[in-house]
Amino acid sequence: MNWNSWLPLLVILSSLLPGLIIFGLAEERIRLRTVLNLAGALVKLALVGWMLWGVYHGHDYEMRLALLPGIELVLRAGPLSLLFVTLSAVLWLVTTVYAIGYLEGSPNRSRFFGFFSLCVTATVGVALSGNLITFLLFYELLTLATYPLIVHRGTETARRAGRTYLAYTVFGGALLLLGTVWLYTLSGTLEFTPQGGFLDGLGDEHRPALMIIFALLIVGFGVKAALVPFHGWLPQAMVAPAPVSALLHAVAVVKAGAFGIVRVVYDVFGVEFAVGLGVLGPLAWLAAITIIYGSLRALFQDDLKRRLAFSTISQVSYIALGVAIAGPIATIGGVVHLVHQGLMKITLFFCAGNLAETLGIHKISEMNGVGRRMPWTMVAFTIGAFGMIGAPPVAGFVTKWYLGLGALEADQAWVILVLAGSSLLNAAYFLPILHRAWFRAPSDAWPEERDFGRKETAWALLLPPVLTAALALAAGLLVMLPFSPLEWAKLIAAQEFYLP
Amino acid sequence: MSASFLYALVGIGLFSLSLYGLIVHAHLLRKILALNVMGSSIFLVLVALAKRTNEAPPDAVPHAMVITGIVVAVSATALALTLMLKLTAETGRAELPDDQRESH
């Protein structure tokens, strides 16, 4: 194996090895743990940067390992993989900083950061997977690594949430396994094949089987992606500490599920083939229902994190919708939302965490006037919220624009109604929060204020949301730059649809 | 039918009877005895089947197997009896204890 095949593995190891070491650290070794965490995150970012540069210059990074007779474990760096892995690497660094600040003084930090690192390892593995079985392997690893993070606090609510999470994800995993093995027995290969998938050769007698397999795979991925009706675990998982919610909802679990759906439609079935099978229509409907349902439920939540959770359920389905519309422009919209939603949602969760940590605020009704007390946090929150609503110039607007255009291009005008409805609902549940925060007078005392002197809150808690909000803004404003997420998504769509 | 065939049938019959005895009796000593009779019945079958024709000497291999089997049976019986004694010392009865309750 030469350097080109080692690089993907190194990217994975850059979080696995620190994680394993951290497990063994005593609770008091704060500095060493912090160093390991940050070093791992920085090394990973550097390696990903190298990989980006290399792919841009035409290098090929691939690692193959024999897993079973006839099946290999494949790690490959293609444009779609790179999109997701870069997002993961950047956001992991940011979340690590945030988590270090957030969990200061909490028990079991070594255990937390150990599993945290395992979580990122699994996510990066999912991103770099080159075939369905590698994807499955890392996807299940993700389940195992995130469970301890959800139950971290150890309370009865946490354990119940963990049990629910497991019930959903293990069930989804079983369906995924079944679909994958079945597919393998029919097609003899599981390699991700851009531009058409690998199922073209199969004859018509397999149509019913393929439709069922599609359903199995989509449900399997849809559980983590929180597609209705498999979303039940997500609101309950909010009991986890804020860094976990941020990571899970922006990068790891939910995105992995959405990423899986993207892979299945583009690189396993292929868009043309899927259209021919007639399975994309139901997927579009499912995504649309999820979008509306999530937003509706969000309206009625008073707990801030739960409102954000339902918002996530709604927003991630934009990706599925973009994929299901099956046109190049819609693809761009769906794929770019992987990045945009990640940036915006993580900002919102970081802010929610700040409010909880600094002022003890968990409910929206407690947020009166908080904009004056924590201006930077609320500015970041505002940017994220505008992005969710789809207001320019934040990144969310770009997504909605492309999805809308794509719907028109593919003769699915009804999608525009869904998008419009969703924007209205998003406004309905975000604008009141902003109004409360900026324009209402604060109540006498915050529920549980911690003193940070003259600062708004700890640096480690403040910088991450500001940074990600800025990135979300930049992703929307600077779309013309060659390395913007949008241009990247255009590249991916072009590759999928044979466009020049 | 030939004598050896008769012996073999008796052996099978004994096997069945002792199997019944093993299952039905509760007392451990009876169970152990039943197992012994089962073993002996199989040895009987082996020896009976060892006879080939009236002229040729009997086949020695089954005889060797019987001897080995006897040795094994003796060791097994010894272990079984010791276990039974220990169990009786613990529980006061030479029977299999009831299925598991929470004992500690």
């Binding site: 299940e140 971290h152 396994l177 079944l178 | 272990l79 039974m84 613990e90």
Partner: protein, 488 residues
């Protein structure tokens, strides 16, 4: 060096070393622990030697004393035997290290001779080339195992041991009667010769019925599994590990051998393998449900064994059409289960030692104080659940593949459902690793070697997830599953 390696009678050493070691341990109790460890280590080295030799020259056959079959005893090893020998050596070594720290002085002097005799019996069994030798080694194994179960004394252990003994003896006697019938019918007990001579006559059917039932009883296949939970749960932890990991696999191995070689002409008929598949399916489901219902950890793990054995029996109906693939799946499952289950029992032993009890509901504090043990249990659980990456996943994948290719949706459902149930009972235990700490019951500290032995076995089970290709090619030495024969 090369020829010395390949010419040495590794097979003979595999049997003689533990026999001699066991006897010396019995005569010289003060040195039992050290001698025991040294013996097991040298056995492990011998297995490696045998593997080296077999990779070089293929199948291993050795006539003990120079007298060949049919009157003498042959030692024979192909890929499948080698796999079982390897598993025995690996698990045996880890459990020995564990036991060195686990047993007190008095128990130790009784443990080591018995364990070494068990090891000798296991090795001899896997190397046997004729069905009568199998009977003898089988009995030896059973007696040693029963004595080990009764080691600690006490009502539950003695009761479990007695049940085990009665079941074991019944099983082997049924087997012996089958041997008698086969010998009478075909004039030989050598497996290879029998394979050539056997045909589908009533005698063979009767033998199959007797031997099959006896072996099913000893493998604790549903519904003949009644003796297993009490025995495995009440034995000392390392003994439970040996029983679940190795002893149970031995009778499965015999059944598999007989099925592949001696009873081959009967395979075509639907009845038997459907029955075996059905029993396997019921074992998976019933065993898993029972495991879920347990309140005591070791009983949970014991019922999990009942369930996992069921998976291996699913290979029988699948092999009728998919042949090698299904057997490979069963072999891989056996290997991974041995490592994972041994790790689990050792971990349970640690928890028991630390907290003084094994009630699942009260495990919290204990589990959190023993992170290595918790990790061992978790990793072993991953393999038992069949989640990637682990040997259990590979086995599950192979089995699913075989089932899907043949359209056996019933078996697919059983495999998937079994995995879900396993996840339920594994996480039932693991959930307690993350609760808020309550009261500490600390009775005794757990030595590091005990924790590491469990963890290393669990890591082995996970690592197996990446070693499928070399392991399966090893199993293929000597073509035990008849891949070269074209099946209809």
């Amino acid at each position: 060096m090369g020829t010395a390696l390949t010419d040495s009678p590794w097979g003979v050493m595999l049997i003689l070393l533990p026999l001699a070691g066991g006897m010396i341990c019995f005569i010289w109790p003060r040195m039992a622990q050290v001698l025991g460890l040294v013996t097991v280590f040298s056995v492990a080295l011998s297995v490696v030697g045998l593997a080296w030799q077999m990779l070089d020259t293929g199948v291993y056959r050795h006539a003990v004393g120079g007298w060949g079959a049919p009157l003498g005893i042959d030692l024979y090893a192909d890929g499948l035997s080698l796999l079982m020998l390897l598993v025995t050596a690996m698990v045996g070594f880890a459990v020995s290290v564990y036991s060195a720290a686990f047993f007190e002085r008095e128990d130790a002097t009784r443990f080591w001779p018995l364990w070494l005799f068990l090891l000798a019996a296991l090795n001899a069994l896997f190397l046997s080339a004729d069905i009568f030798n199998i009977y003898v080694t089988f009995e030896l194994m059973g007696l040693a195992a029963v004595a080990l179960v009764a080691l600690a004394g006490g009502r539950d252990a003695l009761g479990g041991a007695m049940r085990y003994l009665l079941a074991a003896l019944l099983g082997s006697l049924a087997y012996l009667l089958g041997v008698a019938l086969l010998y009478h019918g075909f004039g030989t007990v050598d497996i290879a010769l029998l394979a050539e001579r056997v045909d589908a006559s009533p005698v063979v059917w009767a033998a199959l019925g007797l031997m099959g039932t006896g072996l099913l009883l000893k493998t604790a296949v549903f519904p003949l599994h009644f003796w297993l939970p009490p025995a495995h749960a009440h034995a000392p932890a390392p003994v439970s590990a040996l029983l679940s990991a190795l002893v149970v696999k031995a009778s499965f191995y015999i059944l598999l051998r007989l099925w592949l070689e001696v009873f081959e002409p009967l395979i075509g008929s639907e009845g038997v393998h459907t029955l075996l598949g059905l029993l396997g399916a019921m074992a998976v489901l019933w065993g898993s449900v029972q495991a879920l219902r347990q309140t005591r950890l070791k009983l949970l793990i014991a019922y999990s064994t009942v369930a996992q054995i069921g998976y291996m029996f699913l290979a029988f109906p699948l092999a009728a059409a998919a042949g090698v693939a299904a057997w490979n799946a069963a072999a891989y499952l056996a290997f991974s289960h041995a490592l994972a289950k041994a790790a689990m029992f050792l971990a349970a032993g640690n928890l028991l030692r630390f907290g003084g009890h094994d009630r699942i509901a009260d495990l919290d504090r204990v589990v959190q104080r023993l992170p290595l043990t918790a990790a061992a249990f978790a990793l072993a659980g991953v393999s038992i659940m069949g989640l990637p990456p682990s040997g259990g996943f590979i086995g599950k994948w192979l089995m699913l593949e075989a089932a899907l290719v043949q359209g056996r949706w019933d078996l697919v459902a059983v495999i998937i459902l079994g995995g879900l149930l396993a996840a339920a009972y594994i996480f039932k235990v693991l959930g307690y690793a993350f609760t808020q700490a309550d009261v500490v019951h600390e009775s005794r500290a757990v030595p590091a070697s005990m924790e590491w032995a469990a963890l290393l076995l669990a890591l082995g089970a996970v690592l197996l997830g990446f070693l499928a290709v070399p392991v399966l090619s090893l199993v293929g030495i000597g073509d035990p599953f008849g891949a070269s024969e074209i099946r209809p």
